[in-house]
Subunit: 391 residues, 2 copies
């Protein structure tokens, strides 16, 4: 995942967070989890990390939900020598916006993921082979129910805040609708209450690219890496949708990698934007499972907080948490209008809701980049929640 | 290509245009055409159609340039029994906006195309095998120079107007910059003076999809149809970029093809938007050559009217033709801003230039749909040109 240059690097290096991934297993036979589809799944292992300490009143827990290609490693390093820190390390840590000296932060790899949580690459106990495409279809709602089991296991009955962007924001909304009495506040960023038709369209093209790769082999490629080219193409497309025309023009324009006329007019000559996308595609392949990618995109497509709840407005009506939507002006994948619509629907129902917007050329991915804008917004919101809980 | 319901169907059925494709061959050895890349290509055959009659003064010729997957069949039917007419039949014909009772209309399949014009699927005289990926890289500028040979062959020294949308609009701009003294007016629609980084990015993903298909086989698949799945995926992606979020929401929303819960939660369940994209992908495969698609996308990427001409502004400074840019408010692939910028640059140089905008939810493809809005704009523009030529 692309990370902008840290603006907090001086502060954070002084009090570095060292973390490790832990595992929690539940839904053990015959107590399998019944998914929204009706299928039973178990055992389920969730890979997760926590930062900070749960207070005596168990009232300072904040759950962070990751996006499509994110994972449980939201903050800190596993070892001081690690080059990269967690994906939201700019936001989470001692003295940072989400201050781990004050709060107990939880982040888990989603159900269906590939970083230690049960997913398509896990062993199916029924066959003792990897699930592959026999993994059951799951939904954002199922992800959240699995997270709930983890949160309870950690001794937390009530969350101070659930926060996340993109697919993380989808989980945030499902949390607030599914467990309205067990959350003080939610902060959904750059997301939607139900996946848009255009979002589904892009996801289907990404899925088709993966499945076109002959090494995908109907999902049976383990222990090999599988459809590297197909997944890389999917990621290239994803990256386009996470950025903006403005950013690409500023950053790459029409510059070519090779500029000699003999190369310029070759079929395989590359513009810098192409080279950048290939780099991003190749990078994802090294850390992500293609079948997980397929299933997570499907879960996003099926995302609709209003399903079997009487529609979007009724679902939003269930929310009791103080709510702050954060949109991004240049995000055309999850345009601000969808969050503004939800905020209006909640306002009508006299909910405690607000909408704020980041100004950024970065597009959808601004929630992984614009820390200077997000920091005061998130800090103030969490501060108010903490105040109301007497923290 | 998707065509909206004709709003002129009553008028046109009364005076139906019957047409046929003709062929013109030039650049015959040793007089091959020297492409912008320096490579020689010949012989070159252009497939073309004409509608109406060239007047005695040879002053009533209008050239129509087609978009990526368009062809020379812009208007009319080959036979009365044909179900579909040409791709701009709503605009071109007796008594229509581009009135073939008054004007002589020319449309040719672009260089590198696959509808009768020399392209990657043609026989390479050096090997007596199809060119495949040995076809030389060509540019929009090369397409226009080939069209110029055709126009001269038809006895036309000066064009009254050159008109086209998308890749057609790129040709329109190249025409005006390359042959400033031989055109009265130009009407570039939903296009750019140089391909944007985002446009290049989408094209590269489309190319990669085609080349990932094992049946592509480095371009050596003739006489078989070749990478049908890869080309279909490319088209699916293309279709997303030609439309808009608003349109997809209006037309498909989150409706599913199958709604029974047992199907809803299957991995292969389909939303209507997915089904629509697959339909469009499968349809293109039946009429388009994958290698042509690759080369035409490359030509678009290389499109820059300012190349070797001192940049965009200087290139626009060459134009002498009366110019009307037409943008589409919901077009995010070729946003209005790029055409407005060109209009401003030309205004500064005291050119006869105007910009008009279609209001449409249809996105980029509105130039193939919004005939009621385009018709008066185009009719008035051509009328003025004709007046000034004493027609």
């Amino acid at each position: 995942m692309y990370q902008g240059a840290s603006r907090f690097s001086v502060a954070s290096s002084a009090r570095e967070l060292i973390t490790k991934t832990e595992h929690f297993t539940f839904a053990i036979s015959p107590e399998e989890m019944v998914l929204e589809s009706g299928h039973r799944l178990g055992p389920i292992t969730l890979a997760y990390e926590t930062y900070g300490t749960l207070n005596e009143g168990r009232s300072n827990a904040i759950l962070v939900a990751h996006a499509l290609t994110g994972d449980q490693h939201a903050a800190g390093k596993y070892d001081k020598s690690d080059k990269a820190a967690g994906w939201w390390d700019d936001m989470i840590g001692p003295g940072k916006t989400i201050d781990t000296n004050r709060f107990f932060v939880i982040c888990s790899n989603v159900l269906g993921g590939c970083r230690g949580t049960t997913g398509p690459s896990s062993i199916n106990p029924a066959t003792e082979m990897p699930y592959g495409m026999n993994f059951p279809v799951f939904t954002i709602r199922d992800m959240v129910r699995a997270q709930k089991a983890l949160v309870q296991h950690l001794g937390v009955e009530r969350l101070l805040c659930v926060i996340g962007g993109s697919m993380g924001g989808m989980q945030v909304l499902e949390w607030a609708v599914t467990y309205p009495d067990q959350i003080d506040g939610i902060l959904p960023i750059a997301t939607a209450g139900r996946m848009t038709a255009m979002g589904i369209a892009f996801n289907e093209v990404m899925r088709q690219s993966i499945m076109l790769d002959p090494t995908w082999n109907q999902g049976n490629y383990y222990p090999e890496v599988g459809p590297a080219q197909g997944l890389s193409i999917a990621r290239m497309l994803g990256m386009i949708t996470y950025r903006s025309d403005e950013l690409f023009n500023l950053r790459f324009g029409r510059r070519m990698v090779h500029t000699h006329p003999d190369e310029y007019f070759r079929f395989d000559s590359r513009f810098e934007i192409e080279s950048y996308l290939h780099y991003q595609g190749d990078k994802l392949v090294k850390r992500f499972d293609a079948n997980s990618y397929l299933y997570l995109c499907k879960a996003m497509d099926l995302h609709d907080i209003g399903r079997r709840r009487g529609g979007l407005a009724k679902a939003l009506g269930r929310i009791k948490a103080k709510t702050l939507f954060v949109g991004i002006d240049s995000d055309w994948l999850y345009p601000p209008s969808y969050m503004i619509e939800m905020a209006h629907l909640m306002e009508k129902k006299r909910k405690d809701v607000e909408y704020k917007e980041l100004k950024s050329p970065h597009g959808h991915d601004a929630f992984l980049i614009e820390f200077d804008q997000m920091s005061p917004i998130i800090r103030d919101f969490i501060f108010e929640l903490a105040e109301s809980r007497g923290l």
